[in-house]
């Protein structure tokens, strides 16, 4: 006995065939998200490396040289170049040659010997303020440890705060990026597949053919939701697999909970895709529609920057974005060892978004006939 009526079954098969018809289409569906996963995992890093630095050493003493060489030895530095005038260092910042210019004042070594707090001046290119800030914090760390070498006092701990990073002690970027990208890329694929479905049938004239058949609107919606529902979670699972093996991200939660979450995530995204599709007369409109919601969806989901960082009204809007919740779930399951009760509120929110948007798409499709 089949699970669905023959009418619905035929439609589901049709939708799947439309999406997976040949090898080229299947590759086109699977390859881009996987490529994106690998490219973005390496590209999305707010870490800084290979930074070019200019040094104007007015002091020339041994302490100054020691300071410069310990900076030159650090991982984040690319080229380090000595310059010989204030003007030259300023010019190298203006024309973008160096991100940071270090000016070591004349009396640097003398201050250290005299136990007067020595100073280092930095000029940072504000055009790349974010990278600049990180470099400044690295240089500060180096300066602090220099202090330890040169100090004579008993105090071995000038830094009076003890910092520990939980869940990701070394702040490995992959641990954050790879699990977060998986649901994000899955939702882009799911949106793409579902948003095209009705628009394509309208454009090619097959939608009329479908509407004169005994298929009900509910069946049409269910059938159109299926391809994403079937393709999305395995795609996500494959990315999770890549995260665990290739990128070496630890997994602390329940695997089945993750699988369930992927399904619920796709369920929540599909409704949005169908709403776009129901409004679109052509595939071009659909793809522009997807794009228009995709960009805010990525940027406001908490992936790019923390959710709490946005003004209140954007936080309120962001509550309707499925990825906001899914991001919390995957981070919780991968790194924080969350259990079912911990992810339940997020799962419920996703269910609500999915149910509301699917209902909306049902009514939009139905009312378009008027």
């Amino acid at each position: 006995m089949k699970l669905f009526s023959p009418t619905l079954w035929a439609q589901i098969i049709k939708e799947l065939l439309c999406v997976l018809r040949d090898k080229q289409a299947r590759v086109g569906l699977i390859a881009p998200p996987l490529m994106q996963l690998f490219i973005f995992s390496f590209a999305v890093t707010l870490d800084v490396k290979n930074i070019d630095i200019g040094v104007y050493d007015m002091d020339g003493g041994s302490y100054a040289q020691e300071f410069v060489s310990s900076i030159a030895a650090s991982k984040f530095v690319g080229k380090i170049a000595a310059v010989h005038s204030q003007e030259e260092i300023e010019q190298s910042i203006v024309n973008g040659k160096n991100l940071v210019g270090i000016i070591i004042p004349q009396n640097f070594s003398r201050d250290i010997i005299n136990k007067t707090p020595p100073k280092i001046e930095l000029i940072v290119d504000g055009r790349r303020a974010n990278a600049g800030q990180i470099v400044v914090s690295y240089i500060e760390t180096i300066a602090n440890s220099m202090g330890v070498f040169t100090k004579t006092a008993v105090d071995k701990n000038p830094d009076r705060t003890g910092i520990r990073y939980w869940f990701n002690p070394t702040l490995n970027y992959f641990w954050f990026v790879v699990p977060s990208l998986a649901p994000l890329l899955v939702s882009i694929s799911a949106l793409g597949v579902t948003s095209m479905s009705i628009a394509r049938e309208r454009e090619l004239g097959t939608f009329d053919q479908l509407l004169v058949s005994p298929a009900t609107y509910l069946e049409i919606i269910i059938a159109k939701a299926m391809p994403a529902m079937i393709i999305g979670p395995p795609l996500g699972l494959f990315m999770v697999f890549a995260a665990l093996t290739f990128f070496g991200v630890p997994f602390t939660g329940n695997f089945f909970l993750l699988l369930l979450s992927l399904f619920v995530h796709v369920y929540a995204v599909i409704g949005l895709g169908l709403i776009i599709s129901a409004f679109s007369q052509t595939q071009q409109q659909a793809i522009l529609g997807v794009f228009t919601i995709m960009v805010p969806m990525v940027l406001m989901s908490g992936f790019a920057t923390p959710y709490e960082n946005m003004p209140q009204f954007l936080q309120d809007i962001a509550l309707s974005i499925p990825n906001l919740y899914t991001l919390r779930i995957v981070q919780g399951l991968f790194l924080k060892g969350q259990g079912f009760m911990d992810v339940l509120p997020s799962l419920m929110s996703l269910m609500i978004i999915g149910t509301l948007s699917l209902t909306a798409s049902y009514f939009i499709v139905r009312n378009k006939l008027q």
Binding site: T7, A10, K14, Q209
Partner: protein
């Protein structure tokens, strides 16, 4: 007086991959006359047009257009030709006047003459009231006239029209003919490619293409004359006409036959006797008389005759759910879009086993009515019923009882032929062995075996038509809706299609059809004429023809009847105003 040839081509060959679209064709085309290019789908008509328009280059052979070679002197050729592609080449999001402006400037019509030329063309095309309307909002007929006007800017010496008659109503077609005739009398060479043979018949000369070769080159009359004494008109009990046609087409001596209102038209094979035809006619109390041959008779004969009269599809066809109620009915059906009344208070009933035609010019409201009857639009008021089920209240039941074949080719291009059949069977609720059997039956009847894994878009036109029909009939519906089913289809494919329809009607299937093609209207038992949202006439085709007969109009054709009925409504409105 025809002068030196405007176009001359010799031994043109053009291949696409393995397919020889043109296989060594040669001809001369004269100025000051209309030359028709006719032939079945895939015969090479469009390829030739594109070569003449410099859009394609021939693989070999020589082409000469008013002294220029399109391959090496493309720019010179472009200066003297006007070209209207199949889809008119209009910018739908620009207004009528914008389109004219654009093409006039591209052809460098100078400032002073432009205004005069526009005025003349707008009057010529009767588009003056619509100059600021977007081209996309025009009806098919108006688009076609605008397309022609755009092709005429810059006063070309050679005008190339690629299937301009598709999807256009008789009134607009009449306008178009009038315009083209005017042009040829000015000395222009006009080339008109078409699959409608009544159009071809009006051309001064025709080139008849088949499979990339020219089968005939000359005046249409010359070809028609070869059929003298071979065309017959059979008259008798109109209710039997489809049956008689079916029997006659199976005769060895008959090469072609069609329904013409209440009569039957038959063409005898050459070198065969007419005895069998007369004998068959007598069996059914029909009287057979000789009639003047038409170009179409000759065309079909030249291509080796039409299909037989026996529909294997109909043989096995038994209506799944026999319905006692009126198959299709509408009562006071009205549809408004804002203030615009697309269908105004239309009522009619279709009898079981009847072919019911819905006719009218573009924008008359026939598609709106049609769409309400098959559940694609919800009526503003009134009811539409199929097999007794109100489409608003019991849509699912009503829809299970109807089969639908859309005007535009609307099978899933992303699915293979076999997958399309599977889908159609499934979506109408067929399952298990029954589904398997029905699909196998369709594959067998329509010889789809070798195409099962092809994409529907790659099929020859005839097979597309068969597949669409198979998909619409898989669930054996008592009612079949056909929306311009043979628009742009060549005569042979059209004959095969109607052969099946006639067979189905014999089995009690009810057919509802819209068409622009007047010969198709002749197949109908009754025809409803719509105009301006209203039902203006409802009668048999012969009845409609008779209703317009007068001393100015004797023995009117269906097309003349159509135009006259519309004219009368316009005249009445004129008086009222």
């Amino acid at each position: 007086m025809p002068e030196s040839p405007a176009i001359k081509f010799e031994n043109i060959v053009k291949t696409f991959g393995n397919i020889k679209a043109l296989d060594g064709v040669s001809a001369e085309i004269k100025s000051g006359q209309l030359t028709g290019i006719v032939g079945p789908d895939g015969a090479g008509k469009t390829t030739l047009m594109r070569i003449l328009a410099t859009l394609l280059h021939a693989d070999s052979g020589s082409v000469n257009i008013a002294g220029f070679d399109p391959k090496t002197q493309g720019q010179n050729v472009k200066d003297i030709i006007g070209y209207m592609p199949q889809r008119f080449g209009l910018y739908e999001d620009l207004s009528v006047i914008d389109n004219l402006q654009l093409y006039s400037k591209l052809r460098r019509v100078d400032e002073k003459t432009r205004e005069k030329l526009f005025a003349r063309l707008l009057e010529f095309t009767r588009l003056e009231p619509f100059t600021n309307r977007l081209a996309g909002a025009l009806s098919g007929g108006m688009k076609q006239k605008l397309g022609l006007a755009c092709a005429l800017l810059g006063e070309p010496k050679v005008l190339l029209l690629d299937e301009p008659g598709v999807g256009v109503d008789p009134v607009s077609r009449q306008d178009l003919w009038r315009m083209v005739e005017d042009l040829t009398s000015d000395g222009m060479a006009v080339i008109w490619s078409t699959s409608y043979l009544d159009e071809a018949e009006k051309c001064a000369e025709v080139l008849l293409f088949n499979e990339g070769k020219i089968l005939f080159n000359g005046k249409p009359d010359e070809l028609t004359q070869t059929l003298d004494g071979r065309s017959f008109l059979l008259k008798g009990d109109a209710d039997l006409r489809r049956k008689v046609l079916g029997v006659a087409l199976e005769l060895d001596d008959v090469c072609d036959g069609t329904i013409q209102g209440s009569a039957i038209r038959l063409v005898k094979k050459s070198n065969s006797s007419e005895d069998a035809i007369i004998k068959t006619a007598k069996e059914y109390d029909y009287i057979a008389t000789h009639t003047k041959p038409r170009f179409e008779d000759a065309f079909v004969d030249l291509l080796g005759g039409g299909p037989g009269g026996h529909s294997k599809l109909a043989d096995n066809f038994e209506i799944e759910r026999d319905i006692s109620q009126t198959p299709v009915a509408c009562v006071n059906l009205t549809k408004k879009f804002g203030n615009f009344v697309a269908t105004n208070n239309v009522s009619f009933e279709v009898k079981k086993g009847e072919i019911f035609g819905l006719l009218g010019p573009n924008g008359a409201g026939k598609s709106t009515t049609f769409k309400m009857l098959c559940g694609l639009l919800i009526p503003t008021s009134g009811t539409a019923r199929v097999a007794g089920h109100d489409l608003r209240k019991a849509a699912k039941e009503a829809k299970s009882n109807l089969g639908y074949m859309a005007q535009k080719f609307s099978l899933y291009g992303l699915l293979s032929v076999g997958q399309n059949l599977e889908f159609s069977a499934g979506v109408y609720g067929l399952d298990g062995k029954l589904k398997r059997d029905r699909i196998d039956e369709m594959i067998d009847i329509f010889h789809l075996e070798k195409y099962l894994s092809s994409a529907p878009g790659d099929l020859p036109l005839g097979y597309k038509q068969r597949l669409a029909l198979a998909c619409a009939l898989m669930h054996r519906p008592p009612v079949l809706f056909l929306d311009e089913p043979t628009s742009g289809v060549d005569p042979l494919t059209r004959r095969e299609f109607w052969m099946h329809i006639n067979g189905l009607v014999a089995k009690g299937v009810t057919i509802m059809v819209t068409t622009h093609f007047m010969e198709e209207a002749e197949y109908c038992d009754r025809v409803a004429m719509m105009y301006g949202g209203n039902l203006i006439a409802l009668d048999t085709p012969d009845g409609l023809k008779a209703s317009v007969e007068g001393k100015d109009l004797q023995n009117p054709t269906m097309e003349q009847a159509f135009i006259e009925l519309i004219r009368r409504v316009d005249a009445q409105k004129g008086e009222a105003a």
